[in-house]
Amino acid sequence: MTSFRIDGGTLIDRDDVREFTFNGERLRGFGGDTVASALLANGRQLVGRSFKYHRPRGILTAGAAEPNALLTIGRDGRRDPNTRATMAELFDGLEARSQNCWPNVDFDIGAMNGLLGPLLGAGFYYKTFMWPAAFWEKVYEPLIRKAAGLGRASYDPDPGSYEKCWAHCDVLVIGAGPAGLAAALTAGRAGARVIIADEGAQLGGGMLAEGGMIGNKPADAVLADMVGELHALPNVEVKKRTTVFGAYDDQVFAAVEQVQKHLSDAAINPDRAMERLWRIVAKQVILATGAEERPIVFGGNDRPGVMTAGAMRTYLNAFGVAPGKQVALFANNNQAYQTAMDLEARGIEVAAIIDPRKCPDIDYGGKARLIAGAMVRDTAGRKAIKSIAVRHDDGRDEMIAVDALAVSGGYSPIVHLACHRGARPVWSDEHVGFMPPENCDGMVPAGAVAGKAGIASCFVAGATAAVSVLNALGLNAAPAGLPDTQTADDIAQGTVAIWSVPSSKGKAFVDYQNDVTAGDINLAMREGYDHVELAKRYTTNGMATDQGKTSNVNAIGILAQNKGVSPGAIGTTTFRPFYTPVSFGALVGASKGFEFQPVRKSPLHGWAERNGAKFVETGLWYRSSWFPKDGETFWRDSVDREVMNVRENVGICDVSTLGKIEIFGADAAEFLNRVYCNAFLKLPVGKARYGIMLREDGLVYDDGTTSCLAENHYFMTTTTALAAGVLTHLEFCAQVLWPDLDVRLASATDQWAQMAIAGPRARDVLAKIIDDDISNDAFPFLAARDVSMFGGRLTGRLFRISFSGELAYEIAVPAGYGESVADAIMVAGKEFDIAPYGTEALGVMRIEKGHVTHAEINGTVTPADLGMGRMVSAKKDDFIGRVMNMREGLVDPMRPALVGIKPKSLADKFATGSHILKIGDEVSLANDQGYVTSMCYSPNLGHAIGLALVKGGPERYGEEVVIWNGLAGTSITGILCNPAFVDPENEKLHA
């Protein structure tokens, strides 16, 4: 194909040749090109197929609003679908592919959907695919998914990294066109901390499209001066390639910065992020987001070669790309005539200017033939435009041969950010557009977004806006001395609305990306969906990835025209973040893969690893669950051995993950007395006590032991799961409920390595490393105090408490000593056959002993339900949960209460979650007696055992019941029993 590259192009570097492929074909562009400009330079007008009808589509815009030219760019993990070719910078080796076409973009089978047009009109989802219902899954859905749809996401992991940052400034300037640049310069010179962000690869916005002079200097030189000064100001942060996509409360803005996505594989630094998600906190904000040029809705307005006038001017002046050799302009405003002038200045023939205004108030000095009062009603050409059909004012039709058509239907201020917090834009007949709301939530709109046209007036508007926000900050400021523009007045655009061309022949598209036509909107109205929000959903207008940037206002205009009201009376749909699509990578940031969430490792993790532990994730923790020995192939081989070794010899278990809270203060005892349901006031120094904490509604919250280490100093342990929750609860009690109590709390979970030494030989092991007397008399059950270890080299905290039911201790040492102490205990215990045991063995032993965990403390139980009703103090005036615990429903004797359960036939197994029924009862909710909360295989007893919450509980020991498992479809006979399967008399504890 012939090259459309001509002289000029302020953004491109002709010495920097870049190779890329488009649908596998090798093409060339230059540094500074976008994929769109490079494709156009190579004569590729057809770049994709449309969503529903698979019509050939080209490049409509030169910016963020592009609805058509969505490509899949990159390969493998770096493949980004639905990338706007108009925003993607060309890098060497870039691979771009068309989407939504099969077998290829030039010959597409789906284009015959055009024949199915009548079936695919407005509301087709609701009509065509109604019945039969069975067709949905097998016929309609696969068909729709195959035919419709955008690019496909990569299955490969993205090799790039992403990061999130905060930024703070006095003045945030959003958009770096003439208004934004003037504002940033004014604020920067006044000494304010300024951030100016722009989505483009280069600052300049609308100035980049200027080909001529500003004042007596070339436009690009003027721009270079302004940008150079901004970069030189130390208090100004310039963020290119940064899209501010959301406005949130308290002047917090979200922005995504392309850091390396525009670079070739070879140029990417793997240590840097690909994209950066910013949250910017601004004291003052200037909204200089510009305006979006609207296409016009006429027959065949989607044919490749049709482009907005401003986009055509950008490709011409900034990228040195000719749109064609014979171009027409169809415009309803004066500003668009600039495109015709620039085309002619570059020697490109402008075949005609078709202006629907009967007497356009413009003095066009060019050669082009001006056809006033006329409209384009149709286009022709198979894969690119060949001609246009013009309907003259007198009804006469004329065909004009063209190979490109510039279109301008007026300008829509880009008000999105001003509306993200719920404000509505305001219709202006003067500007023929929706203007920013009166109260822009603290933002000051400046430039084209506020209806200004022309560089001169945008400079002034930006500088003036900056002065106003600087004054609000208490800074004296004057408008920056700005480049001389010679023309200082507002250009009157003179836009006259034409929402759709009435004489249109064929499909006239409103929403290019979702293939919504003017006919669809008319149909929606006829069927009663004439409210703007209903019309949107019924036709899907504005619901594509471009969120209707080029289509919403035209759709509103058509609704208004048909109803005979102002577009202001129709109103807009709701503006919501994000302004443009944001990659999941940027939103996820560093939280992926291994870094998805923090990993908490016990201070004994290394020790456990050395001893061959298998780890299990519990919350963020990695806990050792069992320690297989050689020859053990099945987890229970290890667990059974570990359990038996504890019961017969001695074991060591890491319990560091239990929550640990240090409690200090003159009122610490009183505080504990109020947060536990059992008595704590008289706990003596050197003693530990098991405590149950209720919620204020009277149900059990958590359990654990608290030890009095010294006067006014207590050490609380919580369950692993509720370590954070209990601390938060205690802080609430101390700060809010009883601020008068002298009590201080500090989490110490990570400061201590704590291990349980359990089994008949536990004392023998510990006596070898602890200097103090720990005989049964000197250190009885529930003793708790500091002990000297290793000949005085270390002080630890020793607690005589037991979860396993054995003679047991827990020893806590500062976290950094954990592994050495555990190693020393292993050495000391060797002669007693010590072996490490994990959470599985711990779980088996607590079930054997009838101890509860959060499997039983499940938010529905009272202490009485757990057989610990007598622990609830009847003497204390007040504690959390006291009154509600006495509620009628919570003291009902038929409440489900804790029992043990075992199979009648000892070889039988059963599962946690199984329900309990009376023998002979039908399976029904009404007959439900309760359920199994925990179960395990007991190596001591040689059969399955479990704990259950069963109506009437302990009254029913000995009763035969059905254990029904609805999931597995099995039921067996079980026997209810005392939950303490092992040592119910607690003789071992006190040994």
Partner: protein, 92 residues
């Protein structure tokens, strides 16, 4: 919802540092109070459209409990005070 919360101890901080507990209920009743008074305290919440007084915890900061006035319609936040001040006013 506010993006930034003004902790009386730490200053303006991102809301992600905070945990919301919900509406400030009726004050915690005296030990001997009637069960119905307790019921109101434990269960009843107003869920108003408009001004809403809430407990917030600066869980990722100073770990103080705060009371924050928030408008559930406009999301505007008013005063933020340390929650310990409620007790002396008989509101906790």
């Amino acid at each position: 919802m506010s993006s930034l919360v003004k902790c009386p101890h730490c200053g303006l901080r991102p809301r992600e540092e905070f945990t919301i507990r919900g509406e400030v209920p009726t004050p915690r009743p005296a030990a001997g109070a009637d069960e119905s008074v307790w019921f109101d305290h434990v269960y009843l919440r107003d869920n108003p459209r408009g001004q809403h007084r809430e407990y917030w915890h600066h869980s990722g900061g100073c770990r103080r409990w705060l009371v924050l006035d928030r408008n559930t319609v406009t999301h505007e936040t008013g005063d933020v005070v340390d929650a310990s001040t409620l007790k002396s006013e008989g509101r906790a």
